[in-house]
């Protein structure tokens, strides 16, 4: 029972982190109809910028400044890159963001080198918040949970309760009409793109100390973020939340509990072939849940796409 609680918290941290990325991505998608392949790269940039700032000004200034820089950079990419490519159609747009992801990874390696950076949580958060049955929960994790929940509530409030949010929502569905009403829709698009990438930057700032800051960090998380928003339904904020938490918990639990295929197969009435290392089915028999934890999201995605192609919360066909 205690272990379940600990895993619930761990899964929540992973899930919320994932959500901060997928929220921005899904917003950008519903806006421009293009998936930003480089989204996870902005997350990586957030971590690196925050590390660089934290050397001089400390962690908290990093948390404040790095997302802003990332957001401005993101807005610049939209203004000078995507908008240009937009005229060629969706596929070149996707290809552009894919190339951008490659380029940012190379750029990070160029500036900071290939090794992980010693980016760490601030001293003021390096204590144990509380412990459950001997498993200590570090304060930084609690801080991560609070930050992401706060951001989610803030985002929801801005999108649904303020005038700006209303205009954004309207611009998502009827850009022409909104433009005719005298709003600067390209500016709105640029703003949303900037905010989305800034969110990814925040995720990077607070994930960097935990998941380590290295040039492959975008690659590790990148495809999972796509899986998340496909499962949640392209363009759905709630779907992104549910899918992120789902993936966070599934992978955490699969890693924590060593479920073995052998037990399952024996329960189903199969007999284990002897000797096992000679059998063609040996991989199936020796399969354990920690082994497949990382590919579970992909399996989930393929299943979702087969049985419910528009995702958990998506509208019919993206």
């Amino acid at each position: 029972m205690d272990l379940i609680l600990v895993n619930l918290i761990d899964g929540l941290v992973t899930g919320l982190l994932l959500f901060m990325l997928s929220a921005g991505l899904t917003l950008i998608f519903s806006m421009m109809g293009v998936l930003n392949f480089a989204h996870a790269s902005f997350y990586m940039l957030g971590a690196y910028f925050a590390y660089q700032i934290s050397i001089y000004l400390g962690f908290w200034m990093g948390l404040l400044i790095a997302p802003l820089v990332v957001g401005v950079l993101g807005a610049g990419v939209e203004r000078y890159g995507l908008r240009r490519v937009h005229q060629y159609g969706h596929v070149p747009e996707l290809i552009f963001t894919f190339g951008l992801a490659l380029l940012i990874e190379e750029l990070v390696q160029f500036i900071w080198g290939k090794n992980a950076m010693p980016y760490e949580a601030p001293e003021s958060l390096q204590f144990t918040a509380f412990s459950i049955a001997g498993n200590s929960i570090p304060a930084f994790k609690v801080f991560m949970i609070f930050t992401s929940v706060l951001i989610f509530i803030g985002l929801l409030y801005v999108l649904t309760r303020t005038r700006v949010g209303m205009i954004i929502q309207a611009a998502l569905s009827y850009p022409r009409t909104v433009e005719a009403l005298g709003h600067n829709v390209p500016l709105i698009f640029m703003g949303v793109f900037g905010v989305g990438t800034a969110l990814a930057g925040v995720a990077g700032v607070i994930a960097g100390p935990v998941l380590s800051t290295f040039p492959g960090m975008a690659f590790v998380l990148g495809s999972i973020v796509f899986v998340t928003i496909v499962i949640g339904g392209l363009g759905s904020l709630w779907g992104a939340l549910v899918a992120s938490l789902l993936i966070g918990w599934i992978t955490t639990f699969a890693k924590a509990y060593n479920l073995r295929m052998e037990d399952l197969l024996t329960t189903l009435g199969f007999t284990k072939p002897e000797p096992i290392w000679d059998s063609a089915w040996r991989d199936l028999w020796t399969l354990t849940s920690p082994q497949i934890a990382d590919i579970l999201p992909y399996i989930l995605m393929v299943l979702i796409l087969i049985f419910r192609p528009y995702g958990l919360f998506g509208k019919r066909d993206a």
């Binding site: 109809g33 159609g89 490659l102 380029l103 390696q109 796509f226 496909v230 991989d283 590919i295 393929v302």
Partner: protein
Amino acid sequence: MTEDFATDPTKPAQRLRAGSLTIPLIPWLIAGALVIVMPLFFQANSAITIMNQMAITIIFALAYNMLLGQGGMLSFGHAVYMGVGGFATVHIMNMSDFFAMLPLPVMPIFGGLVGMVLAMIVGSFSTRSAGTVFAMISLGVGELIAACSVIIVVFFGGEEGISGDRTYGLPFFGIEFLQQIEVYYLIAFWLMVSAALMYLFSRTPVGRMANAVRDNPERAEFLGYSARWVRFYSFVASGFFAGIAGALFAINYEILTEENLNLTTSGLILLVTFLGGAGFFFGPVLGAIVFTLVQTVLSLETELWGFYAGILFVATVMYFPGGLAGLIMMHVPALRLGKAGRLIVPYLKTLIPGLFTVLGASALIEMIFHYRHAAVGDDEMTLFWTSFDSHSALPWIVAIAVTVVGFWLTKKTAPDMAAAWHDANSPDGGAA
């Protein structure tokens, strides 16, 4: 969703009658002759290795372009079909009794069939829509299979991959494929056969419909074609040829690992195809040749070659979405008007300073990289065949000067080039 890659009216493909299964003989004969005589000029083993690599990449890129260019489907996981085809081929090579009855040159058929079956399975659900959804599914499936490679050890061999020996097959007219050059001709044969087949495929009604579905799926549906099945056929055919490329990879390298399946390989083929130009049949061929050469040369010279490739790729998407082939074909109207000669001087005037700008900028990049990352005390670096101290001021001044002056000259002459371009493309005595 409206797709993508607007059809270019200057494209020769458009003028032929749909479904006419003819091959324009001259370019193909030239290509075939080149493929045959190339090893006579480049006899070194390393050169033949590069050419083998090139030929395999060409087949793969052409197969990929059946999706990207001709079908308007962007796949982020196409390495999987090549990889699985290759893995299956190695497994067949390791079935000693069965393999001993087969000559090596038929092996690509098996690789192709395996790739095709996999494409049929995945395509059954992924081709329902094109565009973003298709791209996402291809990414997910690609990652899934790549991740499986460490889990399903029986088939993928885990971390170290699986290896085989091509020489155990039935000798083919006395050839046992011990030598690199024999393998080259095997690959070259399959290169010509598959390229011709892929070209012919693009001329069949199915291939033409693939173009129609790419440009306007809704309209194609109104004509009575199922966009989904048209996509499915292209996808399966593409899987087949990717599998052939995989089998050739297996024959050439005799080892396959997780690297043949992962996103990096899939991304690379997208890069190759797009750089070459997805809008033309010969684009991917060009892309594969140029990219393999650049990769081989640059990766020997600099650690940063991935950085340059990234910049080149992004610049291509932003400014030359037609790729290399598109750039070449842009000049066809001027050639037709017989005014292409007028372009040469303005081109030289602009592009030579442009080249110097690029070289100067890359020198700066290399020097910054050396300054930041070289071991402490290691101040000497070699660039463009000259050695100098990267911590002294002079090389920096030279590099900056070259870059700035080059850029200034490029910018200054660019309007002339644009004017010459306009002049060369407007018929004499016209309104222009």
